[in-house]
Symmetry: D2
Subunit: 140 residues, 4 copies
């Protein structure tokens, strides 16, 4: 799959809540930052998650995460977090994501990168199902 | 209301996830510690929250919190968190809670104290309702 | 003290990370939202917290929080969170904060409100000290 | 490397704070549960992290995480979280971890599994260094 366009990018500011006693951002929080970017990407494509859930009766669930941490972020930093489709099937997707440190308005140093695999499930039974076609189409 | 007995006490260990870049426990997390103690108190009295919700169709929601922070906790500390009923009505309760630093197996220095006001709501509509009588009775 | 101007306001989007199994925003997270707004307020006045800490050797710590929860927020909601000075002394401040549900671009329903008392401490010893005069002046 | 012994196991109770609006445990929190188990494992071997940091001037940082989510956990569930050494070098370790749902006192259904790669860094400079030999020896 080829993207001629840049991946979707979302800014994330680092607050006290994000840091730990090591003086840096707690690594588990990158999964939150990645999710915020995925959520805003879906929203930008016209798919708010609550609306999607109400209308389709289903929701995305995370089935697999893999993250490499290259460099730490600190209090007050601004991160640019990207999201782009890596692979897609009828019932699952893999999204590639990166977090960069923004300096002087530019995405600069790569802090963390990873892949998030999403499955689609019925909101009530949590049983796997097919991703709604319009969502799948929009993400490609 | 008079308690002749000691309040319910629950140990909480401090991990990296609980701390912030100030090197101490992030203050908002005491609300989590207080809730863990309340939950274990209810469980010890025979009321698991999920079971309670499934059986009664209702759940507690927090309507008010007030916390004073006296002294910081740090990585690897063990806290003793207490919970006891302060006041109760048909639709709401106020629980008094304290977090102590445990040293040598004893609850030692008072780190934080507060009151948590709980209301009872229908799980689906979130409308206020009456606390189930057996729960109210057990907490007194 | 009289404010002729509107309080500082900061938008907060609700993500999965902010919600709990009750289907609504976990109450402890309002303390995070309040802090994000306070942090952006200080930043807007020219005081980034990390810079402040590096330059003055001190930092704000939260010594008291009181929050009332009026109405729940849900996934995908946008909140408007406000911050304004309520009282100030040489070593501590009390900030009044509110979270509103934004509908159609307007701050609408009041979801939660509270007061946060901040003290100033030395970053290393955590001993109380005087709030730097320029910070105190700017907040008034 | 062969382990003839069972991996270290640590119980984790699920509270409201751990869940999300999907009604299940928020996936990012498994990284927290895994860390609690690693921390207790190190402590059981005689290495509290704060003491280690004070004495050696260094600390572990997470450089890579990979997690697969098989089945959801819910409010009030008890999980058994395991930790065991998978591979080790002079400057980094990989720990294999699993979270099981405990039923009737037994570790039962596998909920999530993953690997966590840890590097050792100087606490102040965050530059890589060698894991203290006694720690490395104890983990094997």
């Amino acid at each position: 799959m080829t993207h001629s366009t840049a991946p979707f990018a979302h800014p994330v500011r680092i607050y006290w809540e994000d840091t730990d006693a090591g003086g840096i951002v707690f690594y588990a929080n990158y999964l939150k930052f990645f999710e915020r970017a995925r959520t805003e990407w879906l929203r930008a494509l016209g798919f708010g998650q609550q609306v999607l859930r109400d209308e389709s009766g289903g929701m995305f669930v995370v089935s697999e995460t893999a993250v490499k941490y290259h460099s730490p972020a600190r209090l007050d930093d601004t991160l640019i977090v990207t999201a782009e489709l890596q692979t897609s099937g009828k019932a699952s997707l893999t999204i590639a994501q990166r977090a960069y440190l923004r300096a002087d308005g530019q995405a600069d140093r790569l802090l963390a990168e990873g892949t998030i695999r999403l499955g689609w499930v019925d909101s009530t039974t949590l049983k796997p199902g097919r991703i709604p076609a319009p969502v799948l189409e929009a993400l490609k």
